[in-house]
């Protein structure tokens, strides 16, 4: 059990907007024990993004514990958390979040630069990563000249440049067409397998869910496992988050 990647216990997050309190994540428990493609599904506003952000050290829970590599992300001091974001987590955003004034290669380098190290060695690493995501010819292009799929590949290369142990992706295919989405999903799935990487993906996309090694469902701030025996989330006791989008198995 000491090999656990993540151990979340009673993680809660409440947003305060004016006088209203929104309990986005309600006492979530989750354990991830090793590499694989973990998919979190659920309705819009169910708290998927909130949970993922807390797992990636972008946000902190109001209560509960997020144990990662012996640290509690909920109470870790800012400097250490920054270091974890830099070295242990790779984050992929729905909107790609590339720096618009930097080329593809430079965007990847933006994540590598704070770690220091030799620049020629770094450059080789970046070239190899861009090759790995299939963008060698686009290294010098600015994000504005890349397609959405290409931009997301750059973002994935950037997330991988410090050789993290976890890759967190919030709807990485949300802004892509279905064919491009499939390419990104297979890339993520391949990476998780090749690099022994724990990939946690929040998605509405049933195609992604199909590639998952583990599926979770978020419902009104609560998290539940979707057993592989059933393609339907509804079977675990609450309405299926995929109900409105069709059943891939149907």
């Amino acid at each position: 059990m000491s090999e656990m990647v993540y151990e979340l216990s009673a993680v809660s997050r409440t947003y305060r907007t004016g006088s209203a309190l929104i309990e986005a994540v309600k006492s979530v428990d989750l354990a991830i024990d090793g590499p694989g493609l973990v998919v979190i599904q659920g309705r819009s506003g169910s708290g998927k993004s909130t949970l993922l952000q807390m797992m990636g050290g972008l946000d902190r829970p109001d209560s509960g514990e997020i144990r990662f590599q012996g640290n509690d992300l909920a109470r870790l001091r800012e400097g250490k958390l920054t270091q974890l974001r830099r070295l242990a987590f790779g984050f992929v955003f729905q909107a790609f979040n590339l720096i618009p004034t930097l080329s593809a290669a430079e965007n990847v380098e933006a994540a590598a630069a704070p770690t220091g190290g030799g620049s020629s060695e770094r450059r080789r690493l970046i070239a190899r990563l861009l090759d790995e995501v299939g963008l060698t010819s686009r290294a010098r292009h600015l994000p504005s000249r890349l397609s959405g799929g290409e931009q997301q590949r750059v973002a994935i290369a950037r997330a991988l440049v410090n050789n993290p142990s976890v890759l967190l992706a919030d709807e990485p295919t949300g802004n892509l067409d279905s064919r491009t989405s499939a390419e990104i999903i297979s890339l993520l799935s391949r990476l998780s397998a090749e690099r022994d990487l724990t990939v946690v993906v929040v998605t509405h996309d049933p195609a992604v869910a199909a590639q998952a090694t583990r599926r979770l469902a978020m419902e009104d701030g609560h998290l539940a496992e979707i057993p592989f025996t059933s393609p339907l989330a509804g079977e675990v006791g609450f309405p299926s988050p995929l109900a409105g989008e069709g059943d891939p198995a149907a």
């Binding site: 070295l87 984050f91 630069a113 704070p114």
Partner: protein, 550 residues
């Protein structure tokens, strides 16, 4: 280096924002430079004008006044001086010959032996001093006049009234005999003698006269004074002589301070260091050289003594200038003023009491007048007198306002820049950039911008200053010369070729200090703007990578 590349890309690829900030900083820097340079230029021009002696490195000038009420023999000195002017016109040549002649007039500035000058300098506690001889040369040229007139004297009748010795008996006898011979009655007939013959005509008085002794005959003659021709020298001679005046200063070419400093030389050079060579050289005022079309290498001659022109000089308003500068020994010789001078230039020890020095001289040497910068400044009027420190203060204030506005403007730009990049900066935090790293990046962008702005701005400022230099109207300075002060040192009656009003170009040449200061201000503005942006940057959270901008 990634961070530098990021900085360069950030500035070069967000062109509009960069150019706006750059233009703002550059214009501000240029404004600060040119405005301050104008203010400083006006002020420098003023203080130069108001401290004319400083321009020649002197603190005091001592002259000797011609004051008839002064019991200390100034009239005698005046007479002595006047001796130098006396000219024997007969020496000019034969009447009708062409001649040129230079008369040397010391004016109302009385001469004194150079030894006295040294004593006065000693009394004042001078660290350096020199004596100069200011004279007016009256140059005359024309035909040697007929300088004599002829008078006729004599021809008057002179009456003589004199008691003549009475006749002796012998003379009476002789006379009687003579008259008798003429058949006249004797003057006094001898007693008892018979009456003379009657019927014959008596002798005429002329006939009787011939009988008188010689002595009586001569005195009855009319005396006429001899006629004589007298030639007399006419004063003044009536001639066709053309006369013009120029001022000349004989200066100490070795010691400073003096009325002509090396800094005033506008072309050519100062006198030779060797006194022998200097005695054959002349420096001309720019105006005189231009007016008489004299150039370097030309020569000027006075009473046959020739001097080669080695330089031309600018005049300093308030300091006695001259059309021609010669070496003191040369002028002394020309003007027959051996060993004499009439102006003393004194430099005091740094920080010594000016008033005390003036007082000591005036107490020890009555009849001498001491002039300081203060006296001269009080007599200077014109636009320059009002402009100076006000312009400098005004320009400083304007520069400050420009700076404050610039800081505000670039701070707003910086803040807006960071604000619009919140997602980008949040993303960098999300992928592992520390707060410090992010702040460093944003701050260096501001610094780089302000540094670039400072460089462009300095160039802009220098160009603007040059343009303004040409465009600004010149300042005027007038030196008041009261009639009672005719002999006071300054632009008085001894400098006929130099007007007492000067127009002065404002020097708008920004110095290195000013440019550096303006650049420092620009960088300071960048730092302040950077810090404002940084305050916002430091608050950027990783979560903002995924939040919509509010």
């Amino acid at each position: 280096m990634f961070f530098i590349a990021y900085l360069v890309h950030e500035l070069s690829r967000r062109r509009a924002r960069t150019l706006t900030a750059l233009a703002c900083i550059a214009i501000a820097t240029g404004l600060v430079i040119s405005v301050t340079a104008i203010g400083d230029g006006v002020n420098a021009t003023q203080s130069k004008v108001l401290t004319p002696l400083s321009a020649i490195g002197a603190d005091l000038i001592v002259t000797r006044e011609a004051d008839p009420n002064n019991p200390h023999g100034s009239t005698e000195v005046l007479q002595q001086n006047a001796e130098a002017v006396k000219t024997d016109l007969a020496q000019l040549g034969k009447p009708g010959d062409h001649f040129t002649r230079d008369f040397f007039l010391p004016g109302t500035q009385l001469t004194m032996p150079t030894a006295t000058a040294q004593q006065i300098a000693g009394e004042a506690g001078a660290t350096a001093s020199s004596a100069a001889l200011a004279m007016t040369i009256t140059h005359q040229e024309g035909t040697v006049p007929k300088i004599v007139a002829t008078f006729q004297t004599g021809g008057q009748t002179i009456n003589i009234d004199q008691a003549i010795a009475p006749m002796t008996q012998a003379e009476i006898n002789a006379t009687n005999a003579c008259i008798a011979a003429l058949n006249g009655s004797p003057l006094a007939p001898p007693p008892g003698s018979p009456p003379g013959k009657t019927g014959t005509a008596p002798p005429t008085p002329d006939q009787i006269n011939t009988c008188l002794p010689e002595r009586f005959r001569r005195f009855r003659a009319t005396i006429v004074t001899p006629q004589q021709t007298i030639t007399q020298v006419l004063n003044p001679p009536q001639t066709d002589i053309k006369s013009n005046s120029l001022s000349v200063l004989g200066i100490d070419t070795v010691n400073t301070p003096g009325p002509l400093s090396v800094a005033q030389i506008s072309s050519g050079r100062f006198f030779s260091a060797d006194p022998g060579a200097a005695a054959k050289e002349a420096v001309l005022s720019e105006a005189y050289a231009t007016h008489h079309q004299l150039t370097l290498g030309s020569s000027v001659a006075y009473n046959g003594q020739s001097f080669s022109v080695v330089g031309t000089a600018r005049s300093v308003i308030g300091v006695q200038s001259a059309d021609v500068f010669l070496s003191l020994p040369a002028l002394q010789k020309l003007a027959s003023q051996d060993g004499n001078a009439n102006v003393i230039f004194i430099r005091l020890r740094q920080g010594s009491d000016l008033d005390a020095a003036i007082h000591r001289i005036e107490a020890a040497y009555p009849g001498f007048r001491v002039t300081s910068n203060r006296d001269l400044a009080n007599r200077i009027s014109g636009s320059v007198a009002q402009a100076g420190s006000l312009a400098q203060k005004g320009s400083r204030l304007l520069a400050l306002i420009v700076f404050v506005v610039t800081v505000l403007f670039v701070s707003i730009l910086s803040w807006a820049g960071v604000h619009s990049r919140t997602r980008e900066l949040g993303t960098l935090r999300a992928i592992g950039w520390s707060r410090l790293l992010l702040v460093r990046q944003v701050l260096s962008e501001s610094l780089a911008l302000s540094l670039l702005g400072a460089v462009f701005g300095s160039a802009l400022g220098l160009v603007a200053a040059r343009a303004l230099q040409a465009w600004l109207p010149p300042l005027t300075a007038s030196l008041a010369t009261a009639s009672t002060d005719s002999g006071q040192f300054g632009l008085g009656n001894l400098a006929p070729a130099i007007g007492s009003t000067a127009t002065l170009r404002i020097e708008v040449i920004p110095n290195t200090d000013l440019v550096l200061a303006a650049m420092a201000l620009a960088i300071a503005a960048g730092v302040i703007a950077g810090v404002i942006g940084t305050l916002l940057t430091a608050r950027v959270q990783p979560i903002q990578a995924v939040q919509r901008l509010t």
